[in-house]
Homo-oligomer: 313 residues x 2
């Protein structure tokens, strides 16, 4: 199958792609329309985002399964107290009571993003809201790396898992955004469902070797990560065997040999989440297809300084 998404994310001579991670998490609150709009205004045409579903089946853009104290305020503007409500236990209307416009600087998660602007009154968006934005003509070149968050509590609930994939695919199809969307997950079983339910969208396989983590203050991928026991050089073959078209390794895992193998297999390789200047430079030197970063301006600068660009147009 020929996927138009592949050239959109694949590197090219003089081009290493730039993916805005959750919009531009270093600058603006993650997974908000405001963050995505900022990324778009600054010429970032590949957006990474995370989705899950509410109790009433609305696909929403948020990373953690629970509303998280360090980044969510209640209707009175206070950081969440007590138990953190699960997104899938709330209706979309209930979710709209919460403010996701900023981080608590006293939290470990907040300290990771010291420059992020602090806004008030921001809401968790629906996937449909972002898709509507991207249907505006000036955004016709924008593509999505749409991560489906697999609920560790529902690993055995086949029906619930399929319902989530179907809801996501239904939104994408309703917006006719399939040619501009890649389905992305740490959960390889879910990606098999994606390939079956929506064969028109390539599947993107996230990997992180257990010895490396960078997820202080947020949900870990460990629960659904099937690559324990692998070396990084095994991963491209594993992805190809699963009929994945994109391989998305953690940036501390990737090696020149594994990247070369991914290329032999025809995979698009996107590294995440690359934020420190020296790490961005190392990924550029390695020649990955794309870099997913919370600091897109920083990646732009380092690419340009080497005579490279993040877009081929």
């Amino acid at each position: 199958m020929v996927f138009p998404q592949i050239p959109a994310f694949a590197g090219a001579p003089g081009v290493i792609r730039l993916v805005g991670h959750r919009g531009a998490r270093g600058v603006l609150p993650e997974n908000t329309l405001e963050g995505f709009e900022f990324a778009l205004k600054t010429g970032v045409d590949l957006l990474e985002l995370d989705v899950t579903a509410t109790r009433d089946g609305v696909v929403v853009i948020t990373h953690n399964h629970h509303l998280t104290r360090s980044m969510v305020r209640d209707a009175n503007g206070n950081w969440l107290q007590g138990a953190e409500p699960k997104v899938s236990a709330l209706s979309y209307a209930e979710l709209l009571r919460y403010d996701v416009g900023g981080l608590d600087g006293a939290s470990a998660y907040g300290r990771r993003f010291p420059d992020q602007a602090f806004l008030t009154g921001l809401r968790i968006p629906r996937l449909a809201d972002l898709l509507a934005l991207l249907q505006q003509p000036q955004h016709r070149g924008v593509h999505l790396l749409l991560e489906i968050k697999s609920d560790p509590d529902l690993l055995a609930d086949t029906a619930a898992r399929q319902a989530l994939v179907e809801a996501v695919v239904s939104d994408v199809r309703a917006a006719r955004m399939q040619p501009r969307t890649v389905l992305h997950s740490f959960d390889w079983d879910l990606l098999a469902d994606c390939q079956r339910i929506a064969p028109e969208m390539p599947a993107s396989y996230l990997t992180q070797l257990p010895e490396n983590t960078d997820d202080a203050g947020e949900d870990s991928s460990k629960a659904v990560n099937p690559v324990a026991g692998c070396t990084v050089l095994d991963l491209p073959d594993r992805v190809a065997a699963a009929r994945g078209r994109f391989w998305c390794p953690y940036y501390l895992d990737i090696t020149p040999q594994s990247l070369a193998r991914a290329r032999e297999l025809g995979l698009v390789t996107i590294v995440w989440t690359v934020n420190a200047p020296e790490d961005i430079e190392r990924m550029i030197d390695l020649g990955v297809d794309a870099i997913c970063s919370d600091y897109p301006g920083r990646v732009q600068r380092l690419l340009l300084t080497r005579g490279l660009h993040w877009r081929s147009d």
Copy 2:
């Protein structure tokens, strides 16, 4: 005279104000509408900007008197080659050929702002363009710290200097923005003209002691700075004697004693340009009225972490 601008910029219990320097120079290209819009979207309601005039008398928002190689591209998208044209020698139509959407990472100036996004097709705006934006109802609480750049080549040309002040004041009055504008300069003679021509706007006196500088890669204030030979403790009295209402010292110059003296004299004290976290923290601890920064998100975070805010509404 009662100036509504004074409470807008003055600190208050629990409040240290935040001024976006040239918009948000650490994030987006300086003195562009895109940069100002970003600052506004992130809740920054005090904007600093620089103006000068074109050959045909259009007041434009730009810092240096010459289009500068490190931040200006020509109509072909190349960094400026050869002599850097003077803004006052170009018509506004000619100025529109140049692109100010990004910094050259190979330059000393570019290296100062490694995270600034790189855009293409941005133009030097007219002051009138920004004033029109701020007349939108959602921006009615926004105030300007409008720096008039004094041309060192024209220090003796009284008519030209007055014409610049008159052109600026005319734009501000046409937009009825006088109650929301402070006229700000390093050139104290120009500020005397401002007070005479536009007594409805308070004058803001910039100072920088000659032993401290941070202007690598941009026009220096030295040529018009009248405070050589002063100590920092002399400056508030000098500003008050000149009938200034705002004192804007370089952040490395200010001391607790000089701030206390400014307060005794009823001056609003705004420090510039405070970017490093430890410097922002020191200014918060000192208790200045307002902090002017290229990184407004960073200042927001550090204020909130101390239980402070940058707005009183």
